[in-house]
């Protein structure tokens, strides 16, 4: 009984373990510390975006604008670093811009009653347009000032042998986990997704919570933009295209319901890792990148179907 319950509760985790066993059987080079660190580093950007997405989806919303916010934040940050802005100033400004863009989507959802899908679809289009206007369609280099070297560390550096993006993702995870499980805000997020009317009658400030979750999503997308820009030492106008889809896939793979009110941040982390391991495995097995997309879609479908079956037989 106990084992069965554990299994039903942790289908994403079991899926990840099975996937890793299969891949290591197929390709011995998969099982190495270097490769694992590589997977974690590649996963960290999607994981950070997906964790913000988890907040939004738990309130029964969706955020399609994260990829565009990532690109916009990256471009602004690159030009600030290129203009020798102090590192902390550049970082906080960038994060604030991301949060503000998210809060704008949230406000449209809260005050004008627009569906999150539509509000963030508009955001996605307009912000991407703003990126192209701002960059004139060309990459922005982080420049040659001293600060650019320090900035590079955020994407390409290591602390005690662990890539800095992985450490950042770990800290983000801990904070998100704490907020969702141990704060009033977290309870309100679940309550709104569970039944918005009940939450409202319980005195929850529904508009404020919704604006906050979109702001969190936007800020984390901007953080991902900072890491990506730092690693490439430049901001690309097309950065983050379709990243929202990988983030949503990670959240869903992690067992969070798109209807809201049910799900866990640990699940999202595991979901992001499943996608990361899959990408890595297809690469080291030399599968063509065209075929990779088909394989990835297939695995996501399989995982979600298994998860649904587990839930209905409960």
């Amino acid at each position: 009984m106990k084992i069965k319950e554990f299994a039903l509760e942790n289908i994403p985790l079991i899926g990840l373990v099975i996937l890793m066993i299969l891949v290591s059987l197929a390709s011995p080079s998969f099982l190495s510390v270097d490769n694992f660190l590589n997977i974690l580093r590649q996963t960290s950007i999607n994981a950070i975006i997906a964790m913000g997405m988890t907040f939004v989806i738990l309130t029964a919303g969706i955020d399609l604008s994260v990829g565009s916010i990532l690109a916009f934040a990256g471009a602004v940050c690159a030009s600030m670093i290129g203009a020798d802005t102090p590192l902390l100033v550049a970082l906080f400004t960038t994060l604030a811009i991301g949060a503000a863009l998210g809060a704008a989507s949230g406000s449209i959802v809260s005050f004008f009653g627009v569906q999150p899908f539509i509000a963030t679809l508009v955001g996605m289009t307009m912000i991407r347009g703003a990126v192209l206007v701002y960059t004139d369609g060309r990459p922005i280099s982080t420049g040659d000032f001293e600060v650019a070297n320090a900035f590079y560390e955020l994407g390409g550096g290591y602390v005690a042998g662990i890539p800095i993006p992985v450490i950042i993702a770990g800290v983000v995870f801990l904070v998100c986990w704490y907020v969702l499980n141990h704060t009033r805000m977290g309870r309100h997020v679940y309550a709104i997704g569970g039944n918005e009317q009940v939450a409202k009658l319980a005195g929850v400030n529904v508009s404020a919570v919704k604006i906050t979750v979109f702001a969190i999503s936007g800020a984390l997308a901007a953080l991902a933009g900072i890491i990506l820009t730092a690693r490439l030492e430049s901001a690309q106008p097309t950065a983050g295209l379709a990243y929202e889809l990988d983030a949503i896939a990670a959240v869903v793979l992690g067992g969070t319901s798109l209807m809201g009110g049910r799900g866990r941040i640990t699940g999202t982390l595991i979901g992001a890792l499943i996608i990361g391991v899959l990408n890595n495995a297809l690469n080291i097995m030399d599968v063509s990148s065209y075929f990779q997309m088909i394989a990835k879609g297939g695995v996501i479908l399989l995982a979600v179907v298994l998860d649904r079956r587990g839930k209905t037989t409960e």
Partner: protein, 501 residues
Amino acid sequence: MTALLELKGVDKAFSNVRVLQKVDFVIKAGRVVALAGENGAGKSTLMKIITGIYRRDAGTMRYRGSDVQFTSARQSMDAGIAMIHQELNLLQQLTVGENIFLGREPTDRMGRIQWPVIKERSRYWLGQLKQDISPLELIANLSIAQQQMVEIARALSMNAELIIMDEPTDALTDVETKILFDVIGHLREQGKGMVFISHRLGEIFRMCDDVAILRDGAMVHQGPVSEIDEDELIRHMVGRELSQQYPYDGVKPGPVRLKVDGVSAHGVSNVSFTAHAGEVVGFAGLVGAGRTELGKAIFGANPTTAGTIEVDGAATRLRTPRDGVGAGIGYVTEDRKHEGLIQAHGLRSNMSLIGLFRFSGLLGALDKKAEKETITGYIDAFSIKTHGIDAMVSQLSGGNQQKVSIAKSLLAEPRILILDEPTRGVDVGAKREIYNLINELKSQGLCILLMSSDMPELLGISDRILVLSNGRLTGSFSRDEADQESIMRCTVAGLKEATVQ
């Protein structure tokens, strides 16, 4: 008389919790059998086994002379068993006709839906219920009572042999109940078998031929209604004597706690009254008289357009429920499913939702240990039957859900508590517990506004009764002056006025 459906030795358990034990149950053609029992006694489970939603663990079921094992609601429906659920199962954005024929739409050979047939058949079945509802009307535009009638029309249209009605009169007015009873009488003459589940004991004696009583998952009595009286029925249901149905506690009211002056809002016009600490003020009125709207207006969930509200002498602006909670007002809704509790969430997160501020410190960090202790305390104090503090609310019985709902409001430590139909869909034993609770809260100095359609209940536990009609206050009675007849006169007073105008 032959048995239409016969259950023998039916057992059912959910994850090792036994909910039905060796239940025998007979439904005869041409008779109405009342299924009585407290919430959680196993009535719903038994009905779900008959309709194929649940599978029995043991026992046999014979339907029209042969053994059957339904594995889906669809199968039982095709076999002629219709169930009218307490929680109405209508699609709000479809029309009346579409709902009546949902899944059974008449089609021609090309597979095209024959709308004229749907319209005509729907009109016919609604006509049988004396309802003048257009088949083209959206369900969302109908009152709860009208929706109930549509559900019944759907069951009739299936030509069901066995009709199960779960609390069908709960949302109906007296006139509509009378129509429903006429229909039941008519169906009985046609030889249909019927199961009637109701917490209103009077209706059982008025309408039913047989009565079957479940207690803690066992069938403790089954026989003709004529051989049993109300006291015996209650004794079978609760397994103990209920000496006094409405306990009243004559505490002396304290100072004025709530002053409502000239308040108007959606469904409420120019209402003024005061209520004291340690007082239960009852609100009587017909369905739609504005009781719920008034309760919500005082709480802040129904924005006021005129008038003032004072709590403990201080004027308050109540524009959102958050303002209401902040002003020390608790509101327990009549609609538990949609407004009261998050059905798919656990008892803990539901119960502490309003009062979370009590457990949160810096940056909203929760003291989960204190939360758990408080909630366990309420579960014990209210004797809420549950598997644990994280059990899903949807798995609790109606009475237990209501207790969770009240506890949820109390957790925010209100000074004024508004209870909207607190005993609707709640069984006799749990009702009694809720009355005791109201008395206890009253003696602690809470000011309680009690909205109820159950007149004996209002008369039984209120200190004062105010009557609403058409959104206006049309009567005010002290406990000693109040009687059913004068209150009834006031409930229709505003209506006459409205028609004169």
